[in-house]
């Protein structure tokens, strides 16, 4: 290599630096919440001549006035009043913004660090890796959460979201943050993320409702509009009340071990005859019309039932917008707005014992009596306050049977 070659090499490096500086500008690139184009497209598809992207953008601008920006989130305390607060904003601030530590060594940008690659900056489930994972990452903006201890229509408790973050979801891309929780320096991360998920869910749901009011009711997108303030308050009130909406799970009978997270059934003093009897009762309930478990989970619980359906996130922009999710030429119409290919919700295969909502008896009990919101899994009627349904004793028998399907297989 001669001198001129080295000079050329140095020039190449210099050019690279200049090019890089021009490419990235002089500071961090500005990131913004992504407007809900898909919901706008769904709302305006029939009976409206409005441009969905323009609708989404205008709505997003109003929402920004209430909830701030990605890097500087805020709470609409002036609109809601000081008493109505559903999230802890110090936690939200720590999760928002770019990843890194400040000069005070406090870590920030926790959401971008752990969640953004799947759930996206806006919590819309459209992170970079969204198309690679199955099921798709959750879109928080609908305000619907699957694994919770509150009835359908109610919001999850903080503990519910914490549990999903801590335990993860087996067989899916949703990891467990247990390792982080157990390290001293990141001990607050999960609690803070719970608050940020609540914040994104509230922000997203308000955005959807405001958009619907604008498109369907013709309400002006004015932050002082009484109707819009009312919608904002309704959403926040639901989240603020979530802790008190949780149902109480009765004590499991002695034959079910209540050890959290332990799938092994504690057969405390029950003999084989009692076990067979319990299995018979459980199977009879599993196959009954009242529970209709076999429709989706199949006769043997292998998840091979005849009934197949989509989840509510998919139906939201397909069936509700007059689109057949099975017809690719139909649903692809929504692809430019952020729609991902519709995928059928898979009923759980009980033979493998991989329960997405948790494998402890009490969690399985909750899935049966509360259903899995947003999915085809409905709640089983529970005999309470004179209403017909399964007694708690029968529900535990059903739990016992479902848990033993793994053992049997």
């Amino acid at each position: 290599m001669n001198r001129s070659a080295v000079a050329r090499l140095s020039a190449a490096w210099l050019s690279s630096f200049v090019g890089l500086s021009l490419l990235v500008g002089c500071g961090p690139s500005k990131l913004e919440y992504r407007p809900n184009d898909l919901h706008a497209a769904s709302l305006t598809r029939e009976g409206s001549d409005q441009d969905p992207r323009a609708v989404a953008k205008k709505t997003s601008a109003l929402i920004e006035q209430w909830f701030g920006t990605l890097d500087e989130p805020k709470w609409p305390a002036e609109t809601l009043g000081a008493d109505l607060e559903a999230v802890r904003m110090d936690s939200v601030s720590r999760c928002a913004g770019p990843v890194g530590r400040g000069v005070d060594k406090v870590e920030r940008g926790v959401f971008r660090k752990h969640c953004v690659s799947c759930h996206g900056l806006t919590g819309d489930g459209l992170g970079a890796a969204a198309m690679l994972v199955e099921p798709y990452p959750r879109d928080f903006r609908r305000g619907t959460f699957k694994f919770k201890s509150t009835p359908v229509g109610k919001k999850p408790t903080r503990q519910d979201i914490h549990r999903t973050l801590y335990e993860g979801i087996p067989g899916t891309a949703m990891p467990s943050f247990r390792a982080i929780d157990e390290s001293k320096e990141f001990a607050h991360d999960i609690d803070d993320l719970v608050e940020y998920v609540r914040f994104l869910a509230i922000r997203g749901e308000v955005e959807r409702r405001v958009m619907a009011a604008y498109v369907r009711e013709g309400v002006e997108l004015d932050p002082d509009s009484g109707r819009l303030k009312e919608l904002l308050a309704q959403v926040v009130q639901k989240w603020a009340a979530s802790e008190s909406d949780a149902i109480e799970i009765p004590e499991p009978p002695a034959y079910i071990s209540s050890a959290a997270g332990d799938l092994a059934i504690g057969i405390d003093g029950i003999d084989n005859g009692q076990h067979v009897e319990l299995m018979k009762k459980g199977q009879s309930l599993f196959e009954s019309e009242l529970t209709a478990c076999v429709k989706c989970h199949g006769k043997t619980g292998a998840g091979d039932g005849a009934s197949q359906d989509y989840d509510e996130w998919t139906k939201d922009w397909t069936i509700l917008a007059g689109i057949d999710p099975k017809q690719s030429k139909d649903w692809k119409e929504m692809k430019p707005f952020g729609a991902l290919k519709p995928v059928l919700a898979k009923p759980r295969n009980f033979h493998w014992g991989a329960y997405h909502g948790g494998k402890s008896p009490s969690e399985i009990f909750k899935r049966i009596v509360l259903g899995i919101e947003g999915t085809p899994m409905p709640p089983v009627a529970r005999a309470q306050n004179g209403n017909p349904g399964l007694s708690d004793e029968e529900l535990w028998e059903l739990v016992y049977y479902v848990m033993h399907l793994e053992e049997r297989s």
Binding site: P28, V99, E107, L132, V133, G168, P170, T172, F177, I180
Partner: protein, 349 residues
Amino acid sequence: MSSEAKFNFVKLWAWLSAMFIFPLIWVGGLVTTHDAGMAVPDWPGTYGYNLFLYPISTWLYGPFDLLIEHGHRLLGSWVGLLVIFLCISAWATEARRWYRWASVGLLAAVIAQGLLGGFRVVLDERTIAMVHGCGGPLVFAYASFLAFASSSDWKHAWPSIAPKGLWRLSWVLLGASVTQLVLGAQLRHALPSTTPVGFMSMVHLHLTFAGVVTAAILGVWFLVRRNPYRTEPRLKVPANALAGLLVVQLALGIGTWMANYALPWSETAPSLARYVISAKGYWESMLVTAHQATGSLLIAFSTWLICRVGRRQISLVQNPNSFTIPQDASIVGTARETQTTVGQPVSAI
């Protein structure tokens, strides 16, 4: 004492530089895996301290992200020092002019990498982090090249025959490995604003180039096993090493996919259905980082192969009548091709 008998400091510093760049890449990979690039918000200092005077107890027993980011900076400084030693010894003792300037080029590359890392922090810009991430393995390949060029194989290579097509295939392998690395960096450093479609396209390209790299390595492996080259250990060793690395890298690739996204067919087996990914878990982090580091090794090993093949090609070009053929070779060729005049080592190149 003859110059040949003198201790070869150039070789020492060249090999040490390459050997320390590899762990530097590992730690840099960990920084990316743990998204620790901004764990220290200032540069070139560390929380207001001089880089080298930052209290050891604070970073060694501090948060993990601070440990690896500051450790990466210190290791980078150490590598810079080694390359300075290489330059000094090259300019003091190395007879080859191009090598002396190439050592300066390596120093420039290491400095540039340091500056990129610094700009990434000062500007808080993930795009620079990606460029920095791509640059590391290239610097590693460059340092490896200088290490190989200081070796006895380079200096005393006897003109030989390289299998037909191996020279070109080696370059194809290097090109594909570098492309694969850039694509991998795009996935590792995906911006928060990256769209799912854009990311998916990158994944498809990454998988496609994994196929190209696999085919190229298999091609190299089979070529060096054909008569009359199968007894040429100087070609077989890098080819075997590449094949071994390929197996490791493919396994790590699958592991990386599982650790990041779970398998799309997880519902087909109980163990997969029950597997819960551990966010920032030890094994998950190591798998992902090892995949990236092994990609760097593939580039370095491709460079090694090119050195071995190219050195023989160059020798042959400069001494067309001087090459050796393995003793058990049974080739059919022209009179010139089968001439077995013992050539001279071409140490001056």
